[in-house]
Symmetry: C2
Subunit: 296 residues, 2 copies
């Protein structure tokens, strides 16, 4: 997905939020703000929003010397999610449709997105869970379940810290032995990295790799060769969150996107309302449906 004009004020806002996490020095805030505005003025709008965010957050890291401004926030949300995990797992277990409940809860975890909501509270997370369990959800869960059964190896592209705990509910439904989870190569906003996968016990459940990139999404040309090979070879790719949708929705392979539509730009692109729960097969696949194409 390209960057829309309405993404630009959001980038400016996100930049301010981020630099304020690293320092209270207003001279640094101003320097960063001006540099971001200059960068945005010249940016290539055909790039996806995560490509732009990657550049902005590199500027912040360089200017402040802080490699991981969201480190404490990530720890906090990992801890919160781990605390409520047993209750959520019990909910999946007693559900009439455990796969659907697990998908709903994986979407609930997607509210932990500090790129969209910087002032995220525990309360927001709890509200997100209630909403995800109750909201209308038009996905074809049975078809998704069939694709999962048919796939021998599944690549699961994680999104954020904290959220990756919720993902474990869904990964267990997929059968963990078939799944490889990919986290980000290095810190970017509150996206999950290998450290978060270890902290939350994900590495004990499933094989975890990193994608070699510091973009808050999956920019294939920015990822490691190993990641790209796995991406090409997977029978099924599941991609969590807005950043992965923005970077992969036009890639020519079968992908299931699972996310909560949190901003008007994404909602318009997907064709849903802000706040909707989304399980969406990639557009390229839908367009090709009925063709006799092989998966790769």
């Amino acid at each position: 997905m390209k960057t829309f004009f309405d993404c630009i004020p959001c980038f400016v806002h996100q930049s301010l939020d981020s630099v304020r996490m690293t320092t209270t020095d207003e001279a640094v805030h101003e320097r960063l703000l001006r540099e971001v505005l200059r960068t945005l003025a010249e940016m290539d709008m055909r790039q996806s929003p995560p490509a732009m965010a990657k550049r902005i957050h590199r500027i912040i890291r360089e200017m402040t010397g802080q490699a991981d401004p969201y480190h404490d926030a990530k720890e906090r949300f990992n801890r919160l999610a781990m605390d409520i995990y047993p209750e959520l797992a019990a909910q999946v277990e007693r559900s009439a449709n455990p796969l659907e409940t697990a998908v709903r809860l994986a979407i609930a975890g997607n509210v932990i997105d500090m790129g969209v909501n910087h002032n995220l509270s525990d309360e927001h997370v709890h509200e997100g869970i209630d909403h995800a369990l109750d909201a209308p959800f038009e996905a074809d869960i049975a078809a998704f379940g069939e694709e999962i059964s048919n796939a021998a190896n599944i690549l699961y592209l994680a999104d954020n810290a904290g959220e990756i705990v919720f993902d474990q509910l869904l990964i267990k439904q997929l059968l963990a032995e078939k799944v490889t989870v990919a986290v980000k190569g290095s810190p970017i906003i509150n996206d999950a990295t290998m450290e978060d996968a270890e902290t939350t016990g994900l590495t004990k459940l499933v094989k975890v790799i990193d994608n070699g990139s510091d973009a808050p999404g999956t920019i294939l040309e920015d990822c490691s060769d190993d990641f790209r090979r796995r991406f090409d070879e997977a029978d099924l790719v599941i991609a969590k969150g807005q950043g992965n949708y923005e970077t992969l929705n036009e890639v020519g392979r079968d992908i299931f996107f699972i996310l909560k539509a949190k901003c008007p730009v994404i909602a318009r692109d997907i064709g849903c309302h802000v706040g909707s729960l989304v399980l969406r097969r990639s557009r390229s696949t839908i367009m090709k449906e009925g063709d006799s194409h092989a998966k790769r």
Copy 2:
């Protein structure tokens, strides 16, 4: 008031809203967006937000060749306000405290601010009226009334089209013969100009002048000599809206600001919550209270 960093994403947003009113040509939207970002990157943050908005809207007018993009919107809100005026006037008349009710309704009219809310609906205006009549309001109306009685000539700085109809309720309480209303010198956002004063009958009620400026506030050095003389000579200045607060709150003379605090930056500066009704004597006066200074 200086421009705060948090004003910057708002400027970008407002620029997009405005240019979209003039043309659906996305190439123009992009060109404007980039020019605004470049301008913001180099701006002097000691300037007030209206000084910056003035520059941005000049760029929009030059780029699109449209002198008054909000013309139709202004007509619409003038008409809406005129339609409900008789009912509001009756409400003031039967009020136990007509001056307070008139101030509350003048504040209600201040929701018609398309710089803050571009998608303003009739419903918002009606909600604004209900809120203004019911909300807590800590102003010292008696002291304000006394100042009005003591003043032989009052300069009333108008804010927006539509809103100037609500202002007539208050102007009648001030005694119209003592009052001169100043509107903007030429179109800027949906600020009221002489055309709006004529359309709404304000010119029949009271003397109306224009301030000679196209800033969405009152930047004294940008105003005509005639306006500045009247500003200096008035016994009392009443200034409506955020733009006038932002440009005059540090000017060393007695001013009563009347507005609804619609954004977090203004609310923080005033020391109130977003949404609060505000009748506030200028800070410079408050600081001087107890001194033996003459008014000028």
